[in-house]
């Protein structure tokens, strides 16, 4: 994988992060090092090995369809960076 400025900008956008030009350069070199490090894993021959997704062999952990009261509105909104008495407030996401 090639990590160039464009890739860093795309990743920053997906993560909703903003970097200054200096930060961009240091993130880029960090990412390059991380990718190189991970590439080491590619040296192992994994042919015929199923990907490991789950660390336990549990299956069908299901619950019955019973509703329970959730949090109070006060608790729900407690950690919100911005809220009124009813809603979370976020920057406008639609511009018509």
């Amino acid at each position: 994988m090639i990590i160039d400025d464009k890739k860093v900008e795309d990743l920053a956008h997906l993560a909703r992060l903003e970097f200054s030009d200096n930060q961009k350069q240091s993130i880029k070199s960090d990412l390059v090092r991380i990718i190189e490090f991970c590439d080491k894993l590619n040296e192992v021959n994994t042919e015929g090995v199923e990907p490991l997704i789950y660390l336990s062999d549990q299956k069908n952990i299901l619950r019955q369809d019973i509703s329970k009261p959730g949090l109070s509105k006060l608790e729900v909104l407690k950690n919100a960076p911005s809220a009124d008495s009813d809603y979370f407030k976020v920057p406008k996401v639609i511009t018509k």
Binding site: L14, R16, K59, L77, Y87, K89, V90, K92, V93, I94
Partner: protein, 482 residues
Amino acid sequence: MLKNDKYEVVIGLEIHSQLLTQSKAFCSDKVAFGEAPNTLVSPISLGHPGTLPVHNKEAVNMAIMLGLACGCDIREYNTYDRKNYFYPDLPKGYQITQMDTPICNNGSVEIVLADGSKKEINLTRIHMEEDTGKGLHDLDIENTLMDYNRAGTALVEIVTEPDFRSGDEAYAFLSEVRKLVRYLGVCDGNMEEGSLRCDANVSIRPLGAKEFGTKVEVKNMNSMTNVKKAIEHEFERQCEMADKGEEIFSETRSFDAMKGTTFSMRSKEVANDYRFFPEPDLPPLVVSQEWIAEVKAKMPALPKELYNKFTKEMELGDYDASILTESREVAEYFLEICENTKNYKAAANWTMGAVKSWVNSNATHIENFPLSPATIAEIIASIDSGTINFSVAEQKVFPALLDSPVKKVSEIIAEQNLALMDDDDALQKLVDEVLAEFPDKVAAYKSGKRNLIGMFIGQIKKKSGGKADPKKTNQLLTKALS
């Protein structure tokens, strides 16, 4: 039907259907529409650190049932995936969905078009996922306001093959799917409230071409009519672009119901990148044959099966069968009448006539109709046996029963003295009386004015208070006048 001599429209639909579970897909928050904002929310639906989702078994049952109803293959080994994106409608930063292992594959739904022709619409897949929260964009000038009551509600997404060639076909499919989910009781099918939502992938291609054009995704159509309109608008728009030599690019557009047009929603330079990966918080779901059999056993009769039963076994016409199967409740009411009568045609007529008009004029549902199907069967039996005739049943007995639904049909007939006269002597007496009253008319009849018989019957009916059996009256009159 869309007509264009150069291009044809190709449409595939994606239908999101909210499942009618009591609690959400992965936590036990209550599912309800129209509650005060942010009151049906838990740390799991808010995506707080350290929370763990657990799948709702009923949501899986409903997905399997819908799949069975559409003739899908039900997947045995299911996993879940995270669809990652930062948007305030999902506080976790990802949506739990099934990217690689949809629980249902293939299958189809048959639609009936306006001209009566039928078409099979193939399904690609039905997968399980969770709904998002709701953003209110117009309440506050500077902010979008978020309500997470809906976040985490169990959904299934039905994805069709690009099998539609007109807005009318898409409309017919949506009505069929809505009928089906309502029959199965897995979704209330309410497009206005958003419990059934439809996105359309629309592209055009030159007539006769095999390959598909670039598709445009259209969202935010909150009624079946709007889906049809949006497709028709999009077809025209794309044809115009193609004629001008403009390139149609892949984008998401929103339908503007006021203008009947679509507008671009997302800037195209930033392509979506959802970075799907397996959801490690949810262990795999294994659907056994026994489980599928259990769901099958609980499945109600499907509209198509009932239609076939009504037309073939019960020998009703196509029109009657279509009307009776429009909703499960109406079909069930009709079937319950038929448990007590073999006169299926009469049962159909009463269901579609007097019963349905009561339902309509009271703006309610058949579940609230006060008379039991057995009572309707009793009315039918009283007519069939000749105790009362249809007009007495409809105009006197039926309204009287509505006033006192606990009474029996026979009680009403006795109380109001509605039974047709079955006493030949009494009827003969009325015939004699009338003939004695109108000697001149009798003479006229005998001299050839045969249509006067109607006048005599009318007089006798009047004297009997409407209870003279018209057939018998006619017989006795003809005899007396000969």
